[in-house]
């Protein structure tokens, strides 16, 4: 392609399509494509959703979940060899002795730490370790909001029903009850800590609906919800003087043969290992977007490589719902610098409509995410009505100017400062022009199975947040994930504290389970050189990689 002429940040040919979108705008206001029937939903999912179409998954061949389907990239992770061998490290010298070890400092891990303190564990007996900085996480990036059924026409039970329906009735009922019943308590907790949820002039919350919710119950902080929630929790965490160790990912759990007794850390910068002994261990490592399932770009942070699942599986934890992955319907498709980054569902909740290259609407804007994503893929690849970008991606328009038209001038800037800023940085005004979107890899629906208190089937091991499975079933609704992390982070903190006080054992620190795991891989016929956890993705240019040698 030679030089392109740009108008308002778009190449001329894309801008011509924007003109068509403008032409149909008046007709589309207030008129939505009807929601699909259950049957239509199933059909479109089967044909166009990356989870349902052939070629993306295979069966797990070993361990607790033998026979279960999972994305190839996840099975690769489970079928990988450990990063260290038992004799590489001296496990007799413990560097840290703790009551509660928390792995990962997103909303789940940080909440767990605070509640462990509240349950009587001394702050100096807690250690939170993080791969990157405390706070570099998916939690920081949550834009749209957190669900809690607190309005008079709503109830936790209706929230329960919505979450079950959204998950196609495959969710674990007892954990969904905990999720929805704790929600108002959690939101109140955050308010008391000083979180600034959006308010109306009379002091009541501004609450919006989300895809699949039957009531308005989304609590947002502009479009920086997760950032606001986490920075407040982090501030409280620091004020309480809880120990934290950054840039030290866990590369293996330690066990006494059955019970988890601590973890092995690796210094990202200095490359030395460290050993933590812990009475209780909570995994809160978040999701796996950076594994780029099916080659999709992702909304996730740099460290989202699914480490927690690999670690937990090696010590015998059971996984649940590994077969589904959430693709967010609206990731940025243009410009190239921000491909895959999230355009929050709240934009559609506020009136933005998906529109094809001819300017025509083609789907109800707030279908459950998997259905909405499939409809967009169909429009681009099945119906050929998408726009192809200079980098070769296809996408459809999200008609964002509607937000100001419907809600009044200035709404977009006020409610979506983060989004407006992001596009402005790359020369696009989303208040004036629509933005191009395509589904992006967003969320790990499945994960380690827990009970409503974060207990796993492995003694001494607790799990909370995105790394867990069960609560969202096969599909998560917007606003239920930050909630999940807060609810089960808190619960796991309480349960771990209780466990420390009542039933923790003073076990040995060994890596014995690795030998058994590698044996298991062998007997399942897995031959591999892959190693896990992955820790970080690699985006270095191919030309450099081809010439890289190790001499120092």
């Amino acid at each position: 392609m030679s030089e392109l002429t740009f108008i308002d940040g778009y190449p001329e040919y894309m801008y011509e399509s924007i003109k068509k979108v403008e032409k149909t705008r008046d007709r589309r206001i207030g008129k939505l494509v009807p929601q699909m029937s259950q049957k239509q939903r199933e059909e479109i999912l089967g044909r166009y959703h990356p989870d349902y179409t052939e070629g993306g998954k295979r069966r797990i061949k070993h361990g607790r979940n033998e026979g279960d389907l999972a994305p190839n990239e996840l099975v690769d992770l489970l079928e990988a060899l450990p990063l260290v061998k038992e004799d590489d490290v001296d496990l007799d010298k413990t560097d840290y002795e703790t009551d509660v070890l928390i792995i990962g400092g997103g909303l789940a891990g940080t909440s767990a730490a605070l509640l462990a303190v509240e349950s009587g564990i001394r702050p100096e007996r807690i250690l939170l370790v993080n791969k990157l900085r405390h706070g570099d996480s998916n939690s920081t990036m949550a834009q749209g909001g957190t669900q809690a059924a607190d309005r008079p026409n709503d109830s936790p039970v209706i929230h329960y029903i919505d979450a079950m329906g959204g998950g196609h009735f495959t969710n674990k009922p007892d954990v969904v009850r905990a999720l929805t019943e704790d929600a108002p308590v959690v939101v109140k907790w955050l308010c008391d800590l000083g979180v600034l949820f959006d308010r109306n002039d009379d002091g009541s919350f501004v609450e919006l609906s989300g895809g699949g919710t039957s009531r308005k119950r989304m609590h947002a902080c502009r479009d920086y919800t997760g950032m606001e929630e986490l920075r407040v929790l982090k501030d409280e965490f620091k004020n309480r003087r809880i120990n934290v160790l950054e840039f030290h990912p866990v590369i293996e759990l330690l066990t006494d043969g059955g019970t988890v007794t601590g973890a092995l850390l690796w210094g990202l910068e200095t490359h030395e290992y460290r050993i933590v002994k812990a009475k209780a261990t909570i995994i809160a490592t978040g999701g796996f977007g950076r594994l780029h399932i099916r080659g999709f770009p992702t909304t996730n942070h740099y460290g989202a490589t699914g480490d927690g699942i690999a670690l937990a599986y090696r010590v015998g934890a059971r996984l649940l719902d590994t077969d589904t992955v959430q693709y967010h319907p609206t990731g940025a498709a243009y410009p190239q610098q921000i491909i895959g980054l999230l355009l929050t569902e709240k934009l559609r909740t506020s009136g933005a409509q998906p529109v094809n290259g001819d300017g025509d609407e083609f789907v109800f804007p707030l279908e459950p995410r998997d259905v909405e994503a499939s409809a967009i893929i169909r429009e681009c690849y099945g119906n050929g009505k998408g726009i192809t970008t200079p980098s070769g991606m296809r996408g459809i328009w999200l008609d964002t100017p509607l937000i100001d038209i419907i809600n009044g001038e200035g709404t977009t800037r006020k409610s979506f400062p983060g989004m407006v800023r992001m596009f402005e940085r790359f020369g696009i005004d989303m208040v004036k022009n629509p933005v191009l979107v395509f589904p992006t890899l967003h969320y790990q629906n499945g994960g380690v199975e827990t009970d409503p208190y974060g207990n796993t089937n492995v003694n001494g091991l607790f799990v909370a947040g995105e790394v867990s499975g069960g609560v969202h079933g096969k599909n998560r609704l917007m606003g239920n994930s930050t909630l999940d992390c807060l609810v089960f982070g808190r619960r796991a903190g309480v349960a771990a504290a209780e466990y420390v006080k009542t039933s923790a054992v003073d076990g040995k620190l060994t890596l014995d389970h690795l030998r058994a795991y590698v044996e298991m891989l062998k007997s399942a016929g897995v031959e591999t050189k892959r190693r896990a956890p992955v820790l970080l993705p690699d985006y270095r240019g191919r030309a450099v990689l081809a010439r890289m040698i190790d001499v120092l």
Partner: protein, 252 residues
């Protein structure tokens, strides 16, 4: 079109962002200087992506990759310009002739205290961060802020003890530290903003009635019976209850 083909096509169209870039896909190049060393990189990339293309694998200076976490603070200068500019590496496109360095960390001190036992008093800011009294009103912080926040204004509001203004102005702060690094008075603006927001949220805003009421109802186990009833439904029954609620859906 074959379904698997569609997935293959999608994968192919995303290759340049899901793996390192291949030279053959690059049309336009620019030259940048990372800590003084020259690299030729694709013109379409962000500073962060360009450094990766050049061979850096980030440990520091890379978190969310989307402008939310403040890990990738960058100081740079462009060709023939003496001014030092600031930006987030994940949110800034490379320019030809850019000289840049990452500032992954600012050794700023955060005061430790207890919000819960604090009074909602205008002097709180000076108590926690007495150094704000040294503000020279030079506006350097505002100029440094990649979020275009009027940083000086919220420091001035803190000096007046105006919690609401501090909260409102500082809200979009991603705590990147660039303001603090540039401040001649060694003020740690972003921690001051955090204190103001928490104080305002805790004491300045009214308690929200609905959530107060509902969380009490939950603690009083008001929903036990309804949960038990709903949870005992067969999937098909639950499905029809779900459909009924979806019909009464509040959309906008």
């Amino acid at each position: 079109m074959d379904r698997e083909d569609i997935m293959e096509m999608i994968k192919e169209s995303n290759r340049s962002v899901t793996t390192g870039m291949d030279e053959k896909d690059i049309e336009h190049w620019v030259t940048i200087y990372v800590m003084g060393k020259e690299y030729r990189v694709p013109a379409v990339l962000t500073v962060m992506q360009a450094m990766e293309y050049a061979g850096y694998r980030f440990i520091r200076s890379c978190g969310c990759r989307a402008g939310f976490c403040g890990a990738c603070a960058t100081v740079y200068r462009t060709k023939d310009d003496y001014r030092l500019k600031t930006a987030m590496a994940c949110q800034t496109r490379v320019e030809d002739g850019m000289y840049l360095v990452q500032i992954p960390f600012s050794p700023a001190q955060k005061a430790l205290g207890d919000i819960e036992s604090e009074e909602y008093d205008a002097n709180v800011f000076l108590k926690w961060y007495p150094e704000i009294a040294r503000c020279l009103s030079c506006n350097t912080c505002t100029k440094a802020c990649p979020q275009d926040i009027e940083v000086m204004d919220y420091i001035q509001a803190a000096l007046r003890g105006d919690f609401e203004k501090v909260a409102e102005i500082s809200f979009d702060c991603i705590q990147c530290g660039l303001c603090a690094i540039r401040c001649p008075a060694e003020i740690v603006q972003y921690h001051v903003g955090q204190l103001g927001r928490r104080m305002y949220g805790r004491y300045g805003l009214p308690r929200e009635e609905n959530v107060e009421k509902r969380s009490k109802e939950v603690t009083d186990k008001k929903f036990d019976e309804e949960y038990e009833k709903t949870m005992s439904l067969e999937t098909e029954e639950l499905q029809s209850v779900y459909v009924e609620y979806q019909k009464t859906r509040e959309v906008y």
